[in-house]
Amino acid sequence: MARAPLSPLDFRPAERGLQVDPILRPSLSYWEDTWRRLRGNRRATLALVVVIALLTASAVGPVVWTVDPSAQDLDQVSKLPWADRRARIVDGAGAADPSLPVARATGGSDPTGMDLRIVGEATTKSVVLEWNLSDLASGYRVYRHIDAIAGGEPLGLPLAEVPIAGPGRFIDRLNLQPHRYYYAVAALDAAGEEQAASTIIPADVVRVLSEQEAIARGFAASKIFPGAEVELPFHPLGTDALGRDMLARLIHGSRVSLFIGIAAPWFYVMIGVGLGSLAGLRGGAVDQLIMRFTDFVVALPFLLFMILFKIGFGIGPGESGILPMLVALVLLSWPGTTRLVRGQVLQIREEGYLEASRLLGAPTRHLLLHHLVPNVMGVVLVTLTFAIPSAIFTEAFLSFIGMGVVPPTPSWGSMCNDGTKTMLMHPHELVLPATLISLTVLAFNVLGDGLRDALDARLRSRE
């Protein structure tokens, strides 16, 4: 078939408004498509909801729950939310009133003849013990137990040694909690050895607040008078070992953990995108330089340098230590993304559609904005999502070994660190922050999976 010779008519621009096959389905941009797929993935949607909920909670949380995360409620230490919160107001500094009745051990014999007694009411301020001195003793040792003691069993926690010089009297103030204690006093012989026989007396400690304390705690003045009963503040998730509100700490801790977890990857991914595309687009000496430097930084032992940088920056007084950690993380983590982006750019540069677009006369700006960026963006987004959990882990880890944020600034990692110390007796102090770390890490991982699936071109073409 002979080809018709070209005429100038063939080079006339196409007429606008020319009827071509109409596109009937709504046009679907790259991002709209990704979003549709992501929403179609139920797990990823759930993860997204969790992430948004966590971010919202940490943003809005401090406004809604205004309790100070570093305020110590020493009357409610390591408490669960449903613990008894009642407290009675006593006058003055809360010292025991000696005119109050004396409680003696009831029933049972008193083999030592010490007549151990509790003077006044046993309160969380103090428990006053008195006993009769014996001529044979060279001193006394006072014990306290949280369980009833049977004969011959150890008497519990030694509180003090009381010399014979003074009266047979001891005031216990050590960490008194509102429950029943068993006090024992054992006489010491001339050599300072403890004698076997001892007297034991139970004491039911009630929680009290002095008037000054009640005022300092902000109870209404009308409610404060000796004998009045007040309810201590409610802590919805309990308190930690210093009586600080767990909910407030978790919220403020989430700000630290999520901030580091999101800001650090954000910065280093951005650096990676910048350097990676520069290397990929320019090529040549620039590429060589950047990539060699990347190789070096990748080879640095990450954790060792994290710690080195962390102490290298030092922590000024009053600083939380968040910034040094952030900078150290960014400085050590950018090479991964740089390599990835460079690879992507190199690959896309060779793609047919880019070639076609360039042949059609698209300007560089168009090529960058409409072809390169969207295609790289997908990979970058996925990298970012997966980088967040590892940044959160790094923060938690550093705080755990005591190289992280400075107290009283809470972070989930430092809360876990505190929590492992009280794990046996008060598991909630570990379980809550650990669960939140896990939940966040999980959510970002699932979201990353979902994003990858949604962006995956191979999947799309298979459809």
Partner: protein, 559 residues
């Protein structure tokens, strides 16, 4: 999936095979690697063994320095106290006993020690006066940079030598013969007998030291022992085993055959778990683990470490804390009882009203009885009054933000957070916590880069002066540069006077001046509670000297 159930089952079977192979492979690998690493022991030692008279213990950290001239820390002193012996040593009841010296005379300007002839090094050769001369010269030699060189300053020329102004040979100590040691003193010193029990005064044998080529004290075989025990095995970071020294002159006194420090960890829950398993004979308890110990009905003991903790205030004129009224205000709002009993909450801690801890002895009985401390009361109103005066004197509306320097230990962290809270709520002061790792805290404290610093001081020798000279203007440990001429005079008196009554009076004056000027704010005397195996007896805990001391310990047969 085209796979059928049949194939599932067969693949499952392969995987089971693989798993079995894997488990055995892993076990084999454990065995091979363990064998390569020399993990050849098959059994775990029991906490106590009555037949072998062996006790297994857990210690907080590996002794960092067993070269007695250079050691500075309690872990090293504890081990050294078991494997070495000085001229004198601390006995069961805390008093001094003859060690290598049989008898001694201490005068105003000289001291003489007569050494026993049966004292032996662990290679069987006698311990001589020359070994002491060598050890002391090493401690004072400025080239070695011993932190404890100052403890020898009572000896003639010691300070000048340490500052590099005189040669080491001029140190006022001389071996008259193998068994007589003569010491010339720079000044009269009432407690020289207590000083010579300190590790920096331990003997070192010159020929052995030379043979170690700079590794003296680094390993079990680069240390020569003259104490009740010798190190038989030292796996760094893992284990330190002491066995009875057959050459020790007083070996009849020693009943334990071996002390096996098989675990190094300061983590209280790990310590408690080891105790619970019957692997360690002693475990220290903290607030959290004490509850477990009570529920398990284990016998708990209490012990005061002998140290005192306080807030050092910066007296440099550019600091707000140089103002006496501000210092008074700070001091008046701290409730030591609340700090100790509700914040630190560790049994064994007691509130401290003074720099001089409660266990110190005066002329005839407890020092606290001879120089009573006025009770410390919390008075927020008076404190606010002083704060106003301070603001007026400083000419400011608000006190600038105060820097509180602390180390990153758990107890000081709790304390710092509590104090920050108290200063904020009771005085409206803005206090920033400057938490630093140990060495950086030291550097900042030494440079005066703080307003308040949480410090502690443990006694070196059994005399109130070990605390009393801390705030002398020349003392390097006076980080806040507190300077008071009257105090300096009383410190000098306490250093040189030989009259016990006069010295106690001087300590009283020191205590009074420190309180009036609020040079420091004493907070507490730390202590601890611990569980001990019921069969282990005779362990001595003490404030001064090696602690804990197992040299008199034994294991009873019956429970």
């Amino acid at each position: 999936m085209p796979e059928s159930n049949q194939s599932h089952r067969s693949v499952g079977r392969y995987l089971v095979q693989l798993a079995v192979v894997g488990v055995f492979g892993f076990a084999g690998l454990v065995w091979v690697l363990g064998w390569l690493a020399g993990l050849t022991e098959s059994t775990l030692a029991d906490a106590v063994d009555a037949d072998a008279q062996t006790v297994t213990i857990v210690v907080a950290e590996e002794p960092p320095q067993l070269d007695s001239s250079l050691s500075t820390d309690t872990s090293s002193f504890m081990v050294l106290g078991h494997v070495m012996e000085g001229l004198l040593r601390y006995g069961k009841d805390g008093g001094l006993e003859p060690g290598v010296a049989e008898r001694w005379e201490i005068g105003e300007d000289r001291a003489t020690f007569w050494l026993r002839r049966d004292a032996r090094w662990s290679d069987g050769r006698p311990v001589t006066a020359h070994d002491f001369v060598f050890g002391w010269r090493r401690t004072i030699d400025p080239a070695n940079g011993s932190s404890y060189a100052f403890i020898l300053y009572a000896i003639e020329n010691a300070e000048q030598i340490n500052l590099g102004k005189l040669p080491v040979e001029t140190l006022g100590v001389r071996a008259v013969d193998d068994f007589q040691l003569d010491v010339s003193l720079q000044r009269p010193v009432a407690y020289f007998d207590k000083l010579v029990a300190f590790p920096s005064y331990y003997p070192i044998r010159e020929d052995f030291f030379a043979s170690t080529r700079g590794r003296y004290g680094a390993d079990a075989d680069t240390l020569l022992y003259n104490g009740p025990f010798e190190i038989s095995k030292w796996i760094h970071g893992a284990r330190l085993r002491l066995e009875k020294n057959p050459h020790y002159w007083d070996k009849a006194r020693i009943r334990l055959q071996a002390i096996d420090a098989a675990y190094f960890t300061r983590d209280p829950s790990t310590q408690l778990n080891l105790y619970r398993e019957g692997r360690a004979a002693v475990a220290s308890l903290n607030v959290e683990t004490v509850e477990t110990a009570l529920r398990k009905r284990w016998p708990i003991s209490r012990f005061a470490s002998g140290a005192v903790f306080y807030l050092e205030l910066n007296h440099r004129p550019e600091r707000p804390t140089s103002n006496l009224h501000l210092r008074r205000a700070l001091s008046l709002v701290i409730d030591r009882d609340e700090l100790v009993y509700n914040v630190i909450r560790t049994a064994g801690f007691v509130p401290a009203p003074s720099l001089f801890p409660i266990w110190l002895q005066g002329a005839n009985g407890p020092l606290r009885n001879e120089i009573p401390v006025p009770p410390m009361k919390v008075d927020v109103d008076l404190a606010r009054h002083h704060l106003e005066l301070a603001k007026r004197e400083l000419g400011v509306d608000e006190i600038p933000r105060l820097m509180m320097l602390v180390t990153d230990s758990p107890t000081t962290a709790k304390e710092a957070e509590y104090l920050q809270n108290i200063f904020q709520t009771r005085l409206g002061l803005d206090v920033a916590i400057d938490k630093q790792i140990f060495k950086q805290r030291l550097a900042k404290a030494a440079a005066g880069d703080f307003d308040i610093v949480v410090s502690g001081w443990g006694p070196d020798y059994d005399d109130p002066l070990t605390f009393g000279d801390l705030f002398a203007s020349w003392n390097q440990n006076n980080h806040g540069k507190f300077s008071n001429a009257e105090l300096d005079r009383w410190v000098a008196t306490a250093q040189t006077s030989l009259d016990p009554g006069h010295r106690v009076f001087a300590f009283g004056q020191i205590q009074r001046i420190l309180a009036e000027e609020v040079a420091l704010i004493p907070t507490y005397e730390p202590g601890s509670v611990y569980v001990r195996h019921p069969l282990l007896q005779g362990v001595v805990r003490r404030a001064v000297g090696p602690d804990p001391d197992y040299t008199n310990a034994y294991i009873t047969g019956e429970s």
